[in-house]
C-alpha cells in the first residue's frame, strides 16, 4: 500500500532593516562578538523594547505580495524559556494575533505543473543570539550580535506532498523575499532558514499522521535530503508496526540523517502572554495602500508573463524569474532583436550564465550587453551563423573582440549557404575518400557522419550544416 507525504514549512527570513526590531543597534553580519548588542539586546535591568517601524512595513509588504490579510491590530507576545543566547529569558514574538494571516505562494513542480500552496500566517519576532563552541575549552561563548534581529516567520499549510515540492516552495519563497527587498536571502549567514514539519499517511487516509519537526535545514539540498530521509524513516517505522513519536529532530548533513533533539514531553511550556511593554500594532488602510504602491512585479506574475509574452517554457521561466536582474537582461535582449523568446532564454541560461559563472560575474556586470546578444542571435536567425559558429562568436565577443558583426567579419566566420559552393566541396571530399564511399554503398550509412566532418573541416566549420547533410545524402545516394 502506498504512502502520502505531508509537509508544512516554517521559513524564518531575517528582515533587511538597518537596526534591530526592538533597539537601535545595527544588524550588520560578521562583526566581532557582542559589539552589535546594546543594553536592550543584552536584556539589562530596566530596559524596554521599542518596535522598529521598518520591520512592520516589510511584514505588510510580504503580506500584500502573497495576497494575505493584514491584521489591523496585531499583538506581540512573550515566549518564555531559558537559554543562554536568549538574554531576557523570553523571546518577543507574535502568537494569537499575527500581523499576516493567509495568502498563498505558487510553486512549479519538476513536472512543470504550477501549484498554489496556502500560507497559514506570518508573524514578526526577534532572533536569538548564538552559542559559540569553537575556541572554548569546557565553556560556551555567547555572541548576542544577532539577538534582536527582526525575523518574519512564515508558516505554510501542510500542503506540500514531496521533498521536491518543499524545495520548490523554499526556492519560491527565497525568490519572493529578495524581490521584495525585505531579506538578503543569504543562507550561509542564516538570513533565510527553514524548519519542516513532516508526516506520512496511507493514501486516501483523511487524518494526518504524527509529525516530526526537522531543524537545521540551511540549504535547499539539505531540506530535500532531510525530508527524504525522514519520510523513509517514518514509512519503515509504520510498516514494521511501530509509531512515529512527535518530536523535534535535527538534520545532520554529514551523516545525511535526522536525529531526535527533544520529544513533545520534553518540550517547553512557553507560557505565551501579551508583552506588557509593547502596545498592540495598529495598521490603518492608508499605510497598507502606501506599502502596496511600492510593490514590484512579483516573481509569480513575472514567471507567467515570461511564458505568455515571450513563449518561454515553464521551467526556464522559473529560473529567469528567480533573479530580477537575469529576467531584466532576458527581456532587454529579447526586445532588442528578432529571435523568439525561447532561443533568447536558451542563450541567457546557457552560454551567458556559464560565462558569468566562469568569471564570477553578476549578470549586471556581463561583458556582453543585452543588445549585443540580440545582434548575435539575429545572425543565427538570418542564416549568417550556425549555432556552432555563434558559440565561437560569443566567446570572441566575451573576450572583447567586438560586436557580433565585427567578429564575423574579422574572423571570416560567415556561414557558407551557397549551394553551388557546398556541392563543389562535397564532390571534392567524395573524390578523395573512395574507400568510405564504398562502405556507404555497401550499407554502412554511418559513414555519413565522417563525410559531414570532412566537409565541415574543409570549410573551417562555416558550411550550413543542414545544406551539407542534404547535399551529401543526395550525392551518396546517387540522385
Amino acid at each position: 500500500m502506498s504512502w502520502e507525504t505531508v509537509i508544512g514549512l516554517e521559513v524564518h527570513a531575517q528582515l533587511a532593516t538597518k537596526s534591530k526590531i526592538f533597539s537601535g543597534a545595527p544588524t550588520r553580519y560578521g562583526a566581532a562578538p557582542n559589539t552589535q548588542a546594546c543594553l536592550v539586546d543584552l536584556g539589562y535591568p530596566g530596559v524596554l523594547p521599542v518596535l522598529n517601524r521598518g520591520a512592520v512595513v516589510m511584514a505588510v509588504k510580504f503580506g500584500l505580495a502573497v495576497g494575505a490579510a493584514i491584521a489591523p491590530r496585531s499583538v506581540f507576545a512573550r515566549k518564555n524559556y531559558f537559554y543562554p543566547d536568549l538574554p531576557k529569558g523570553y523571546q518577543i514574538s507574535q502568537y494569537e494575533l499575527p500581523i499576516v494571516t493567509g495568502g498563498s505562494l505558487e510553486i512549479v513542480t519538476d513536472e512543470g505543473e504550477v501549484r498554489r500552496i496556502g500560507l497559514t500566517r506570518a508573524h514578526l519576532e526577534e532572533d536569538a543570539g548564538k552559542s559559540v563552541h569553537e575556541g572554548f575549552e569546557r565553556l560556551t561563548g555567547i555572541d548576542l550580535n544577532r539577538a534582536g534581529t527582526p525575523l518574519l516567520e512564515i508558516v505554510s499549510e501542510p500542503e506540500l506532498r514531496s521533498a521536491q515540492e518543499a524545495a520548490a516552495y523554499m526556492k519560491a519563497m527565497h525568490t519572493l523575499v529578495r524581490y521584495l527587498g525585505i531579506c538578503d536571502g543569504n543562507m550561509q549567514e542564516g538570513s533565510f532558514r527553514c524548519d519542516a514539519n513532516v508526516s506520512v499517511r496511507r493514501v486516501g487516509d483523511g487524518k494526518l499522521g504524527t509529525r516530526t519537526e526537522l531543524k537545521n535545514l540551511n540549504s535547499f539540498r539539505f531540506l530535500e535530503r532531510a525530508i527524504n530521509f525522514e519520510v523513509e524513516r517514518q514509512v519503515d517505522l509504520l510498516e514494521e508496526g511501530g509509531t512515529v513519536v512527535q518530536e523535534t529532530r535535527l538534520y545532520d548533513a554529514e551523516r545525511d540523517e535526522t536525529r531526535p533533539m527533544r520529544t513533545k514531553e520534553e518540550a517547553n511550556d512557553y507560557r505565551y502572554f501579551p508583552d506588557p511593554d509593547l502596545l498592540p500594532v495598529q495598521i490603518d488602510a492608508a499605510l497598507v495602500e502606501q506599502v502596496r504602491a511600492t510593490l514590484p512585479e512579483l516573481p509569480d506574475a513575472r514567471r507567467r508573463r515570461l511564458g505568455d509574452e515571450y513563449g518561454v517554457k515553464a521551467d526556464d521561466a522559473v529560473v529567469l524569474a528567480a533573479s530580477p536582474a537575469l529576467a531584466n537582461y532576458f527581456e532587454a535582449s529579447a526586445a532588442a532583436g528578432t529571435s523568439d523568446g525561447q532561443t533568447v532564454a536558451n542563450w541567457v541560461l546557457g552560454e551567458l550564465s556559464a560565462a558569468l559563472n566562469r568569471d564570477g560575474l553578476d549578470v549586471t556586470e556581463s561583458r556582453i550587453e543585452p543588445a549585443g546578444l540580440a545582434q548575435l542571435l539575429d545572425r543565427i536567425a538570418d542564416g549568417t551563423l550556425s549555432g556552432k559558429l555563434a558559440k565561437q562568436v560569443f566567446e570572441a565577443m566575451w573576450t572583447g573582440e567586438g560586436d557580433a558583426d565585427a567578429v564575423i567579419e574579422a574572423k571570416g566566420l560567415r556561414q557558407i549557404t551557397d549551394t553551388g559552393e557546398i556541392r563543389r566541396i562535397v564532390d571534392e571530399v567524395l573524390a578523395v575518400n573512395p574507400e568510405q564511399w564504398e562502405q556507404y554503398r555497401s550499407g554502412k550509412t554511418k559513414v555519413l557522419g565522417f563525410f559531414v566532418g570532412q566537409v565541415m573541416k574543409a570549410t573551417k566549420g562555416r558550411a550550413n550544416p543542414a545544406e551539407v547533410n542534404r547535399l551529401l545524402k543526395a550525392a551518396l545516394d546517387g540522385d
Binding site: L39, G46, V47, G89, L279
Partner: protein, 484 residues
C-alpha cells in the same frame, strides 16, 4: 535646614541663606546619625552629591540655575543610576553597577536635583513591609519596632525622618501610597504612562509607575513637573502635555465633587483610620468640595486579580536574572541547569520566588484561561467601575490602608494577610489611575493616610486638592519624635 520643604529650600538657595553644599553636608550628617537605626539607605552617594552640589552652587551664583537646582533627593534603588550600584533590594543585584541612568534619574539630574543616595526597598518591589529586602528591614521613624510599609519603605522612612526632603518611589500595587500613609508623608502615583519606565527595573510592567514621596503636595508637584513627559524609549509612555503642576496648586475646591467609596468602609478598616478619614472628608467639605458616596462594585476583586496579573508579569520580567550576563552567579556550576537553578535559588529571596512560582503557574498551559485571562477580564471590570464613578465625581476618596503601621515581623510569615494591606490601593494600579496619599490624622501616635484617586491625567486636580487640604491642616507637618 532639614525641616524645609523643597519649595522652601529653593527659595533659600536663591536668597543665599545657605549653599547647596552646606545643605548636602547637613543631610549627609543626619543620614550618618540616624540611618544606623532606620536602615533607609542601601547606598549613600556622598561624593557624587558633594560634586553635584558644588555645580549647583556655581550655577546659582552664575544665575543659570535649573528648575530644581541644588534640591537634594534620594532614589529608590529600583532606578538605574550610572556608575552606582542598583540593587533593587536583592542579593541578585548586590554587585550590579548600572551602566546607564533611568529616565527619572536622568530628568531629575538634568533639572539640577542632587542625589544623596539609593533607598532600601522590598526585594524587586515585592512586599508591603520592606522586610523582603536583602539589606534588611527598614524601621518606621514613628516607632522603630514597626514597618514603614513597602515596597518604597526606605524612601518613605528617609523622608519622614527628615534625612532627605524628597525621594522617588515606584508603585505597582500601593508601594508609594502605603508607605507614605504609614510614615505620615505625601505619596503620589501618577497615571500609568505619565512617567517613563525606562531604567526602572520591572516588577509588573502593566502596573509599575514611578512617583514621589515628599512632605507636601506642593513638593510632589515640583518634582512631577520634572519627571513627567513622553519618552520614546518607553512604548507605554503617553504623549500628553505636562502642565505646570505648581501653578495649578491654588485652584479652590469650590465646585469639586469627591466620592467616598462605599466598598472601602468594610470590616477590615480600623476605627481610628475610619474616624480620621471621616474627619478629612468633613475638612474637604469645609473647603468647598461636595462629598458624596461613590460605588466601585468590583473593587473587592482587586487583590486576587492583582495577585494573578502581577506575578504573571514578574515571572517573565525576572527571567533575565539568570547568572549569565550580570548580577549574582552561583559558584562552580556543574552545568547550565545548575547555573540557572542555583544562581536563582541563591540570588532571590522567598517572596520573589513565591511570586515567580505563582506567575509561572497562572501562565501555564491549561491554567492560562482560568487565571491570567480571567484576571484580565476582571481588571477590565474594575477599570469600568472607575470610569462609571468618574462620570459622577471629580475625585474618589478613601483610606490608603486599613490599619496604621504594623510591627515588623507581624505579617511576614503570612503572605495573604500581608497582601490584604494593599486592598485599597491596588484598584488604581489595575485601572492605571493617578492617586496620592496625604497624612490625615493619627491612631495611637501612628500616622494615617487619606487616599485620593483621579481619572487619567488628573494629577493637577489631585495635587490641588491635596494642597488645599494641607493648607488647612498640619498633619503633614508633624515630625516623628527624635527626628525634629
Amino acid at each position: 535646614m532639614h525641616e524645609l520643604s523643597l519649595a522652601a529650600i529653593r527659595r533659600a538657595l536663591e536668597a543665599g541663606d545657605f549653599t547647596a553644599a552646606e545643605l548636602v553636608e547637613s543631610l549627609l550628617g543626619r543620614i550618618e546619625a540616624h540611618d544606623g537605626n532606620l536602615n533607609s539607605f542601601v547606598t549613600v552617594t556622598g561624593e557624587q552629591a558633594r560634586a553635584a552640589a558644588a555645580e549647583s552652587d556655581r550655577r546659582l551664583a552664575a544665575g543659570t540655575a535649573r528648575p530644581l537646582e541644588g534640591l537634594p533627593l534620594a532614589h529608590k534603588d529600583i532606578f538605574c543610576t550610572a556608575g552606582v550600584r542598583t540593587s533593587c533590594g536583592s542579593r541578585m543585584l548586590d554587585n550590579f553597577v548600572s551602566p546607564y541612568d533611568a529616565a527619572v534619574v536622568e530628568r531629575l539630574k538634568a533639572a539640577g536635583a542632587v542625589m544623596l543616595g539609593k533607598t532600601n526597598m522590598d526585594e524587586f518591589a515585592m512586599g508591603s513591609s520592606n522586610e523582603t529586602s536583602y539589606y534588611g528591614p527598614v524601621a518606621n521613624p514613628w516607632d522603630t519596632a514597626r514597618s514603614p510599609g513597602g515596597s518604597s519603605g526606605g524612601s518613605a522612612a528617609a523622608v519622614a525622618a527628615r534625612l532627605v526632603p524628597a525621594a522617588t518611589g515606584t508603585d505597582t500595587g500601593g508601594s508609594i501610597r502605603q508607605p507614605a500613609a504609614l510614615t505620615g508623608i505625601t505619596g503620589l502615583k501618577p497615571t500609568y504612562g505619565r512617567v517613563s519606565r525606562w531604567g526602572m527595573i520591572a516588577f509588573a510592567s502593566s502596573l509599575d509607575q514611578a512617583g514621589t514621596l515628599t512632605r507636601s503636595a506642593e513638593d510632589a508637584a515640583l518634582l512631577l513637573g520634572a519627571m513627567a513627559g513622553f519618552d520614546e524609549r518607553d512604548s507605554t509612555s503617553l504623549d500628553e502635555p505636562v502642565p505646570d503642576y505648581v501653578a495649578g496648586l491654588d485652584r479652590s475646591l469650590e465646585g469639586l465633587t469627591i466620592g467616598l467609596v462605599r466598598q472601602f468602609f468594610d470590616e477590615g478598616l480600623e476605627a481610628d483610620n475610619e474616624a480620621a478619614l471621616r474627619a478629612a472628608a468633613a475638612e474637604l467639605e469645609g473647603l468647598g468640595a461636595r462629598v458624596r458616596q461613590a460605588e466601585l462594585p468590583n473593587i473587592g476583586l482587586s487583590v486576587p486579580t492583582y495577585y494573578v496579573v502581577a506575578p504573571a508579569e514578574c515571572s517573565s520580567n525576572l527571567s533575565r536574572f539568570d547568572g549569565v550576563r550580570f548580577g549574582y552567579r552561583a559558584d562552580d556550576p556543574k552545568d547550565l541547569l545548575d547555573l540557572y537553578c542555583r544562581s536563582r535559588a541563591e540570588g532571590f529571596g522567598a517572596e520573589v520566588k513565591r511570586r515567580i512560582m505563582t506567575g509561572t503557574y497562572v501562565l501555564s498551559a491549561g491554567y492560562y484561561d482560568a487565571y491570567y485571562l480571567k484576571a484580565q477580564k476582571v481588571r477590565q471590570l474594575i477599570s469600568d467601575d472607575f470610569r462609571r464613578a468618574f462620570a459622577e465625581v471629580d475625585l474618589i476618596a478613601g483610606p490608603t490602608t486599613p490599619t496604621p503601621a504594623f510591627e515588623l515581623g507581624a505579617k511576614i510569615d503570612d503572605p495573604i494577610t500581608m497582601y490584604l494591606n494593599d486592598i485599597y490601593t491596588i484598584g488604581a494600579n489595575l485601572a492605571g489611575l493617578p492617586c496620592l496619599s496625604v497624612p490625615c490624622g493619627f491612631s495611637a501616635g501612628l500616622p494615617v493616610g487619606l487616599q485620593l484617586i483621579g481619572p487619567p491625567f488628573a494629577e493637577q486636580r489631585l495635587l490641588a486638592c491635596a494642597h488645599q487640604y494641607q493648607g488647612a491642616t498640619d498633619w503633614h507637618r508633624r515630625t516623628p519624635a527624635g527626628y525634629a
